[in-house]
Symmetry: D2
Subunit: 368 residues, 4 copies
């Protein structure tokens, strides 16, 4: 994450010269040696192990740490009037997320949640179609995020599999992206999510900790111990929106053959769109009056952000979403304006995630 954001900042001057000038001032971390090396590589002038001091020293704070260090430093920064862009999900608990949202509301400093997929040109193009009414009344949303890195039961245990440290598993890590993307695309049209049902599943209950990390996965690697997996390998949810529209969402880390397969589809009374992150330069569009989906390569000069990059047909990648995000965020900071997705947007996602967990525990639909 740090690398993706550092790269984004580094690329702004050449491609977004109208973005505010950025100095990569202080890189915060725990291990001084590692910090020095990273700062050198990522172009930071200073390093710090004390985030409080660092916040005093900077004009903008990117909080890219693990979930459990999102709340306290972000709130402190906002209270000090320092704008914050915080990685998703906002916090491991809904309470902390609420505190962050409140801190953002109480300050004039620009607060943003880093849902980078909102900044894919094809997604922006889809959003434009929906806003212009080209899909008609929105009825159904379908989002899936499929990965395969936990298919193997012998894949090593990691902190992301621990409920205390990670909050949830596929739900928080992947589901957060899907829920936010759906909110972005259809939220204005269908309102918030009213009610959800949920199912969280863990297929592999314990995983090995290897004696030697680097040997993990090798056939003869020595297993030091087995530790419990206390989060979900996969979740699914059904949702009902205020307008009466419905949605189905799903993510899994055990779908063999899917690396980073985040797809979202929207059906309206006049048309449909389909998007896949693995082909992020494309959007499938069913326009009113057409008979089938049109495969649109969203790489025209007139497409969102594309004129900043390359000629038509020259595809961009995953990392470009971070450049667009920083461009928008820093521009908002410079203008003293607000940024979307805001902390309030991040909190809305968190509320849905919490509701899905609650629905799973209770075995019933719950209000968000």
């Amino acid at each position: 994450m740090g690398r993706a954001h550092a790269n984004a900042l580094a690329r702004l001057p050449m491609f977004f010269p109208d973005a505010p000038e950025v100095e990569r001032h202080t890189l915060v971390g725990r291990d001084e040696n590692a910090l020095a090396e990273a700062a050198d590589r990522f172009g930071f002038a200073h390093t710090a192990t004390d985030w409080e001091a660092a916040i005093d020293a900077v004009d903008v704070f990117y909080n890219l740490g693990p979930n459990h260090v999102h709340a306290e430093p972000s709130i402190a920064a906002l209270e000090a009037g320092v704008p914050v862009l915080c990685e998703k999900p906002l916090a491991p608990t809904l309470e902390e997320a609420a505190a962050m949202r409140d801190a953002a509301a109480a300050t004039g400093a620009t607060a943003g949640t880093a849902f980078n997929y909102r900044f894919v040109p094809a997604i922006r193009y889809a959003k434009g179609l929906i806003e212009d009414g080209e899909l008609g009344e929105i009825r159904q949303v379908r989002g899936r995020y499929l990965q395969d890195w936990l298919v193997d039961p012998e894949a090593p245990w990691a902190w992301r599999m621990d409920a205390d440290m990670a909050g949830s598993g596929a739900l928080g890590d992947l589901g957060a992206h899907t829920i936010d993307l759906a909110n972005f695309l259809v939220g204005e049209a269908v309102g918030g999510i009213d009610r959800v049902s949920g199912q969280l599943t863990t297929f592999v209950d314990e995983r090995p900790v290897y004696a030697d990390d680097d040997a993990a996965g090798e056939a003869d690697a020595e297993v030091a111990e087995y530790r419990d997996v206390t989060v979900d390998d996969a979740y699914s949810a059904q949702v009902a929106y205020e307008s009466g529209a419905t949605g189905t969402f799903e993510a899994t880390r055990v779908a063999e053959g899917h690396k980073n397969d985040h797809t979202i589809a929207v059906h309206g009374s006049k048309g449909s769109v389909k998007f896949s992150l693995e082909r992020l330069n494309e959007l499938e569009v069913l326009r009113e009056g057409n008979r089938g989906y049109e495969t649109v390569l969203v790489t025209e000069e007139t497409d969102p952000y594309v004129d900043r990059w390359w000629p038509p047909g020259h595809v961009i990648g995953w990392e470009h979403t971070f450049v667009h995000e920083s461009y928008e965020y820093l521009s908002a900071v410079a203008e003293g304006g607000s940024f979307e997705p805001s902390f309030a947007d991040g909190y809305e996602v968190q509320k849905v995630l919490a509701a899905i967990e609650r629905a799973d525990e209770r075995g019933e639909w719950v209000e968000v």
Copy 2:
């Protein structure tokens, strides 16, 4: 449906010469004039408006009528020792379906439910992979059936939108296919469905009855009245299998751009498969050790049923599933054996459909 089955019977001798010889004896219906014309076209020697008499006259009974005439004649036939192949879903109510299942159990006559998608070569090939353990332990199933014929709110009202006549909407009509296909593919591996949650949605509450049927859909067509839609336009469900595997299912009649888009995907601990009815000659297979899905054209001599038809690469269509189905069913009848999907299989699907409806009404997960 009648046409698809009549065609299947007519094609057996040329392509499945080892199938029992079939005489298309009596065509049953209500309107004598229409019957005569249909019998002539579909190659039936006799017609009848009285199904009881017809059952006396035949050796095998194909019950292809609407759902509400499935139970009584099928049970009567079975009680008379006449084998029955009945269209899906088995019955509009679970009670009737149970009675049919019991009648089948009490007789020696072969009873079958006409879930024709079990007889797609690509599906059989997938089933073989799963049986051979090539996907490993089955963890997740995902089925969707998307259609678009009710996208337009002015699409005409029909009996299929009435709960009394049709039972349910997308759920019974499309969901039955998906649930059965999942049972066929993974049922042996993961057991039955334990629990379900469900959501049934009607997006258009009333639809026009046009003064002149033929003018329906034209811009200036005169609407005689509006009638209530009392079934679902779309459903979704989450399911938990006995083994701990999970599934998500969904169908809709309002997905613009999707004509008959029935897809099913299965993920196991070693591999995955994906199938789409609109490309029914293909199967996407993620094999252990491979990096991506392999697009298999299931048209080799060694593929199920394919040696009966054409050389490799010469694709077959939807209707061929009915030929395979009749071949298997009639062969079972001739041998006095049982046939799958049986009435018991049809009843199992029905139980799941009923549970999904119940789950939707109660807003909670229910036992199947």
Copy 3:
């Protein structure tokens, strides 16, 4: 081929009741025992080993024999006033093809060449778009026919690999289809093919004749001898049309991974279309004003021939093209009219094939 046509005739009454009534009268062949069995299976009343006698006995003659028996019986039939539908390519030599064309011109009997791919609904739909000017002025055509059955150098020798018996290899067998399909789609718009360049290649110069045919391909199969392959495994050609439009064509029997992959693409000044035989229910259409290709499932009631079959989204297969072909051909016979593709159309294709061979021999572009 015989099976595909017999099946087509058998299916007409149920699906094309307006087609002329057909009696499968006499099946002609060499081996009386095999004939009797085939006649029984394919529904023929009589058999004959003497084609001259058979022609006297029938009203219509389907000449489905190997290429070297196309000319004499077809000409005899036409001279006797018996309509002939002849399999493609018309003849092994251009001279024979010319004689056939002339015989057809001299008689009132309907003569047709059996290029069945003209009767794919998606191809007809594409043809309609081109006729309606939706692609604008046609500029480029691209056709490829890829198969893989000769990839393995140990695949057995067959008569199709002998120049005397087969004329040419991939060129005549596969290229004939592509050239005719291109003529059908764009011929009216761009005129005939003026000039061609060509390349014929044989990758495997001799192939085994196995002692035991059935063991062919098995690792330890005994090879009786090796025989020369005297035809092309693959060809490619560049063509210039009268209008100034251009084309590139190619076929191969050694493209690993391609079973029956016949594709054709047309680019005009306003739009483009792409078709693939392995997905024959689909057409990719780039319409003026759209940004990408639209994947059209050509299965609507309004699509060519589709109303005769199944509801929207219910796909048909390869064999249906033969039913459409026989429907059109027999209707033309009944009306005493002409049929396209005619013998003259078949001759045009043959002329192009001959020119491609000539161009390859001479190493230069040649006039057709």
Copy 4:
């Protein structure tokens, strides 16, 4: 091009820290004002309008100018011992390209031709498969480069349409990429190209020069004059390799619906690969023993260059090819080694392009 290379240099330190350190020293151009602005944006310390002086001042020279300024400065630099990376195609005439090749041979300075598509991870992965013999003996290559920016006859005239300035049209601009990519992938296996046939076509003979450039393409834009198009809008070629393998190549600027659709396919006696630039993170692979193409997302840590970027499944874009190219080129410079594609490689491509033109003029196959 300048932008793509400047960006590549700027990104090396963060992602390829083992690359030589680079100072963007002097930016050369004609217009001092434009230069100053570009230098500022692209991070150059100095500017120059005199390339000779600039060459004296730098350690490495990137020649990114139009084709007609490739030869003289590149040769001068090489003679001065300054390494040169020159954009493709090497020169507008074969003579100049030969002089460049000779200059490179006569110096110790590293000379490279900037065929960036050699540096796509999926292409490198394909190259590895071919080198490892996984496709067996290579038999057929097929390359196409389809664009649509000249579909409209009213698209404005530009220097690229003038033979004196541009050499050729689609052939030199797009064909050069395809020929080089084929050489890279299969050159070692099949040797050089022996003979070619060619067809160059111009569909629109003259194009408008608009009174106001910015208004070009608008319906009411005033046309100042019409100028002749003296290069090809499209070319096709057939080629014969030394080994007996064959190839077909094609490019067009008038293929409606194709933005930057560069595809290449290779068939061997054991397998096949297919690549498309519009989906540059993917490779279609037909492996021995498999039944269909496997869609490989070439984004694993073990894939070429991928470990430098992002986690599995996080796609990269077109511009990354330039980063890889500069990494390899500058590393070669630092080590005093050679670089591929070299000037000799660039010359080989040029020879083929010239042969295709000659073949077109003569209407016959010509030796390369």
